[in-house]
C-alpha cells in the first residue's frame, strides 16, 4: 500500500488560480498520486473497477476541489455514487476502505468571515462538509481536519503560494503518518 491518493476535481483548470497552484505543489511527490477526475473521465464514464483498485492501493484519500455550491463539483459526487459500492466500501463485507484516512482540501470564494460562525453563509465549513464526514464514517475511514482556503476572489499570488506550500506539507504529513 502506497501513500496518498488525491482525487482532484476541477472542471475548468485553465481558469484556476488556487487549486492549480496547489496541485502543482504536490505533483511528483513520492508516494502521492494525483488523480485528475475531469481529465480521466471527460464524459463522466467512471471506470469503477479501476477506481476501486486505485483506492485500495493507498492508505489515505484526499478530496481536492474548489467549493461549488457549498459542495464538490459534480464529478466527485459521481465518483462517490459509483465507486463507493455496497459490499466494497460499506455494508457487511464492505471493508475495502476501513482504516484509511479521508481529508477534504477545498477552496471557497467566500471569505473567512462569511464562513465564520454567524457569517453570511449561515453555516461553517465543517457543517457544510458533513456529508463527506459521514461518508468517511460509514466506510470506516478516519475523517481528517479539512484543509481550507477562503476568499479566493480576494487574494494575491503570494497568499496562494504560501497556501500551496502548506498544502504540500500537509500531504507529506498525511503520507508519513499512514506509513507507520
Amino acid at each position: 500500500m502506497t501513500g496518498v491518493l488525491i482525487l482532484f476535481a476541477h472542471p475548468n483548470l485553465e481558469r484556476s488560480r488556487v487549486n492549480r497552484t496547489m496541485r502543482d505543489a504536490v505533483a511528483g511527490l513520492e508516494q502521492v498520486t494525483v488523480h485528475d477526475l475531469y481529465d480521466a473521465y471527460p464524459d463522466f464514464d467512471i471506470d469503477v473497477a479501476a477506481e476501486q483498485a486505485r483506492a485500495e492501493a493507498h492508505h489515505s484519500l484526499v478530496f481536492h476541489h474548489p467549493f461549488y455550491w457549498y459542495s464538490c463539483p459534480a464529478i466527485l459526487k459521481e465518483w462517490m455514487d459509483l465507486v463507493l459500492t455496497h459490499g466494497w466500501a460499506y455494508g457487511q463485507d464492505g471493508t475495502a476502505l476501513s482504516g484509511k484516512q479521508l481529508m477534504s482540501a477545498v477552496s471557497t470564494g467566500g471569505s473567512v468571515r462569511a464562513y465564520a460562525e454567524g457569517g453570511s453563509t449561515r453555516h461553517t465549513i465543517t457543517q457544510f462538509l458533513a456529508p463527506f464526514d459521514q461518508t468517511a464514517n460509514l466506510c470506516g475511514m478516519n475523517w481528517q481536519e479539512p484543509f481550507v482556503f477562503h476568499g479566493t476572489h480576494d487574494t494575491n499570488n503570494e497568499a496562494i503560494e504560501q497556501h500551496a506550500v502548506a498544502y504540500r506539507a500537509r500531504i507529506e504529513a498525511l503520507r508519513d503518518a499512514g506509513a507507520t
Binding site: 475531469y38 481529465d39 471527460p42 470564494g109 468571515r113 457569517g119
Partner: protein
Amino acid sequence: MDEHGFLFSAFVFLAAAVVVVPIAKRSGLGSVLGYLIAGVAIGPFGLTLITNPEDILHFAEFGVVMMLFLIGLELEPRMLWRMRKPIAGLGGLQVAVTTGILCTIGLAAGLAWQTSLAVGMALALSSTAIALQTLNEKNLMGTGGGRSAFSVLLFQDIAVIPMLALLPLLAIPALAAAGGGDGHAEGALAGLPGWLRALVVLGSVVAIILAGRFLIRPVMGFIAASRIREIFTAFALFLVIGIALLMQVIGLSPALGTFLAGVVLADSEYRHQLETDIEPFKGLLLGLFFISVGMSIDFDVAAAAPVIVTALVLGLMAVKFVILTGLGRAFGLPLSQIMLFACVLAQGGEFAFVLFQFAVTEGAIPAPTAALLTVVVALSMALTPIVILLHDKVIQPRLGRRQQADDMDPIEDGGHPVIIGGYGRVGQVIARLLNAHGIGTTLLDHDPDQIDMTRRYGSKSFYGDVMRLDLLRAAGVERARMFVVAIDDEEQAVELTQLLKEHFPHLTVMARARNRPHAYALMKAGADIYRRETFLSAVDMGEAALRHLGFGAYRARRAARRFARHDIDTLIDSFDIYEDEKALMSFSRARVDDLEQVMVQDAGQFHDDHEDSGFDGGHPDGKKTD
C-alpha cells in the same frame, strides 16, 4: 472531320451516350441497350456521323481488356478455389456441350470439320461485358443465377486460351495460304508451324504469371513508395496496355493476358489501388465498346441475307438458351434462377470477334463465313438487353412468388427485433453492440462473402437483394421493431428507407447517412433515426486536436459535444430550405453548397460562448459577500 477527327468523334460519342443512355436507363432498358442504340444511331447505318466503326471497335475493345483485368483482380485464388465446382462443372459442361452441338450443326450444314469446330468454340462463348454489366446494374450478382452465370463466364474466359492455342491446328491448308497473305501484319509468329505457336502461346501465359509474381509487384512497391498518385495510375495503365500489346505481338487475346495479370495480382497489397485507378477508364471504354458494337452491326450483310441472318441469330440464341436451361436444372438451380442464368448468357460474345479474326488469319474459317457470323454475334448481343427485359417483365412475374423465394436463403423463424440491412463496417458494430446486450439481430447483405464470414461466427445472416419485398418479409420485417439501413449505396439507402416506410409503417427505420444532403434525403424518405457515419469520428478528431493544443479533457469534450449538437440542430433546421432548393441536386454538389451555409452558421456561434459561464468563477458567494 479529317483535321479534327479525334475530337469530333469523341464529341459525337459522348453526345450520343449522354443523350441516349440516361433515357434508356430510365425507361428500364438498361444502359447496355442504351449504348448499343446510341451506336446504331451514330454509325454507318444511322446518321453516319462515324464511318470507321472497326477502328473504334478496335480501340474500344480496350474496355473489355480493362474489364477483364478488373475481374481478374477480383478473383483471388482463394475465391477461385471455392468456386471450382460451378466453374469447372457448370462452365466446362456449357462450353463442351454448346461447342459439340454447334459443331454438329455446322457439319450438318456442310462446313468443313475444322471450320465447324472453330465456329462451335467461338459461338459457345457468351458476352462477359454484357452479362456482367447487366447483372451488376440490376444488383443480381449475389443471386444464385447471377453467381452461376459468373462461373460460366469465367470458365469461358479461361477456355479462350486453349481455344486460341488450338486454332492454328485447325488450319485448312488452302485457306491458310489465303489468310496468311493479308492478316499477319502484327503476328510475329507468322512463319512458325502450328504446334510451335501453340507452345509459344502457353509459354507466354506462364511468363505473365511469373512476371506478375516476381517482377510487377516489387516495381509497384517502388512506385507506390514515391507517393505520387498519378504515377501509380500511369503505371496501372502502362501495365494493362503493355500486356495487351505483348499479347497482340504474339497473336493472343489481350483481354486474356490482362485477365491473367489481374488474377496474379489479386492477392497483392495494391489490388484496391489498381482497381480504383482503372475503374473509370474501364467504365468509359466499356461504354465505347458497346457503342461500337452497335455501330459495327453490318446491316448490309444482314440485308443481303435477312432470312439466314435472322434464322442464325434466333437459332444461336435458342440453342444456347436450351443448353443453359438444361444445365441449370442439372445443377439444381431453382426455376426463376435458371431463367435469369439462361437469359443473361444466351448470346455470342466479344471473344467470338477475336476468335473469328484469328481463325480467318489462321485459315480455319473462310472470311465470308466469319463476316456473316460476326454480324450474327453482334445482333445476338444487341438482342440480349431485350431478352433481359422480357425476362424481367414477362417471365419473372409469371413464375410468381413461389419461386422467387427460392433464390435467397431461407430465413427460418427470423424473429429478431432488429434487422440490419447491409452488413459492412457500420452494420457490424451495431450488431455487435446489440448482441452484447442480448438483443438478437438478423443480418441481410447481398455480398455472399460478407455473409459467409458472419455465419462462420454463428450469426443469423442471410444474403439476397435487400430491396426485395419478399426477402424482407421472409427476414421477418413484419415482426421486427427496428430496421437499420446500413448499406453502402446512397441512393439505394434512400430507396430502401422509402420502401420500408411505405410497406411496414410500424417499423422504426434507422439509416446511416453519408453526409448532410444524404441525411436530408433520408429524412425526407421517412427515416426515424439517422446518423452521419463520419460526423462523430470527425468531431472526435477535432476534440483530440483541441486537447493537443492545450484544452483540458473535460473542456475539450464539452466543446466537441456542443459543436456536435449545434451541427445536428442546424441540420434539422435547414431541412426545409433544403427541401425546396436542393432536391434536384446531386448529393455531392449539394454538399459543397451546404458546407458554405453551415460555415456561415458556425461563424459567431462559438467564439463569444466558448466558456461555461457557470464555471467562470463569478459565483455570487465569492463576489457578493465582503
